[in-house]
Symmetry: C2
Subunit: 207 residues, 2 copies
DNA sequence: GTCTATACTCCGATAGAC
DNA sequence: GTCTATCGGAGTATAGAC
């Protein structure tokens, strides 16, 4: 997999396929999914616009590979963040919101890329494995809280992801620009918000 | 404002400008901001692709007009929803999340359109008035809760909007498609999540 | 105020040389 | 495996007829 030859004089790359995937993240972080294009990725790597088509049949297949990588890496960072959050199941689930915000702020590839509508019809088994694993990990973290049913766990995951994705999306759209907030600031707020909504039971104590 | 002449035989419209704005919402709801184009709106109204440029200098100016309308209408629905939510300030603020989800599900124009990055440089005073009014309304609803400072009110608004926008965004991306959830279902979940995170103080009671 | 027609740019994708 | 060259399509925007 890795390019064993240090210097690759021929044309540009030893492993254009991998370089395309990596460069796609940079493009996504800068321009978003909307303006993602094969031509732009090729420009970024200073190869011709035709070169990527030797490695991917089309734009969507490249995006599918990006989705696969993102699902794998995001899941790893979520696991790491929840492990670092300590033993409380609610803290562990809330930590995933922070991991999500930081990952997407850094790479540009969030759920809108991982589960992009244009990928649904694309039967990429590797991608589906990784996205399934990501969802499974999240649901398990939710199930460890006082969630009473699978349905409730799923809805808890959805709420947590919604918070994280909402903050991320608004951050990417420059909504927090006037505050000069960093990604870590936003991540912290997302964790706090997620933590609050994970334990609604405590609210009943008010009465 | 309204087309007083019932039938307008000449070409296509009595008020193409207004028709363009209205049709833009439909396009946004179906295709999203990403694929929004002047040409597509023109097609939808069965006018030539050149016609819109008699009313708007370019794509961004049309989007700015859409943003203005969306900010005005969304604010009105938020006010109505919070008034319908009763006297509790937390309930009133949480209701805005539901109003947001329903409005965006119906029209396709959320904060990503109202505060679209491409509009920042466009000095449209009418748009800025309406967006300011929208934000002010939200912050006032937040200030009515036990928020202790302006900064805390703003962050409460941000959290509420993040939840609503996150649910909306995931809904638009088809994330809840397998559940066959309706927009009202999602809105209800957004309200519940928002309600939970607005009163974090109750959590302290656990200890 | 809307039309037709057109120029320009960008992207997706393919053909064929090397 | 990458190149150059090219086609077809879509979008932005303008010019000029009506």
């Amino acid at each position: 997999m890795e390019a064993s030859v240090a210097a690759n004089r021929a044309y540009h790359h030893g492993d254009l396929r991998a370089a395309l995937i990596e460069a796609s993240f940079g493009l996504l972080a800068e321009c978003g999914l909307q303006r993602f294009s094969v031509a732009a990725v090729a420009r970024r790597l200073q190869v011709s616009s035709a070169a990527p088509y030797r490695h991917f049949p089309g734009r969507d297949h490249l995006l599918s590979a990006v989705s696969t990588t993102a699902a794998r890496d995001l899941r790893a960072e979520i696991v790491a963040a929840s492990d670092a959050a300590g033993p409380d199941p609610a803290d562990r689930l809330a930590a995933t919101a922070g991991a999500y915000v930081r990952y997407v702020a850094r790479t540009g590839a969030g759920f809108h890329v991982i589960f992009a509508a244009e990928l649904y019809r694309l039967p990429d088994e590797e991608r589906r494995e990784h996205t399934r694993a990501l969802i499974t990990t999240l649901v398990e973290l939710a199930a460890a809280t006082e969630a009473r049913s699978y349905q409730e766990s799923v809805q808890l995951v959805e709420a947590t992801i919604a918070v994280a994705h909402g903050y991320t999306s608004l951050y990417a759209d420059g909504f927090f620009a006037q505050n000069a907030s960093t990604a870590d600031d936003i991540a912290a707020r997302a964790v706090e918000a997620a933590r609050n909504l994970i334990t609604p039971g405590a609210i009943e104590v008010r009465n």
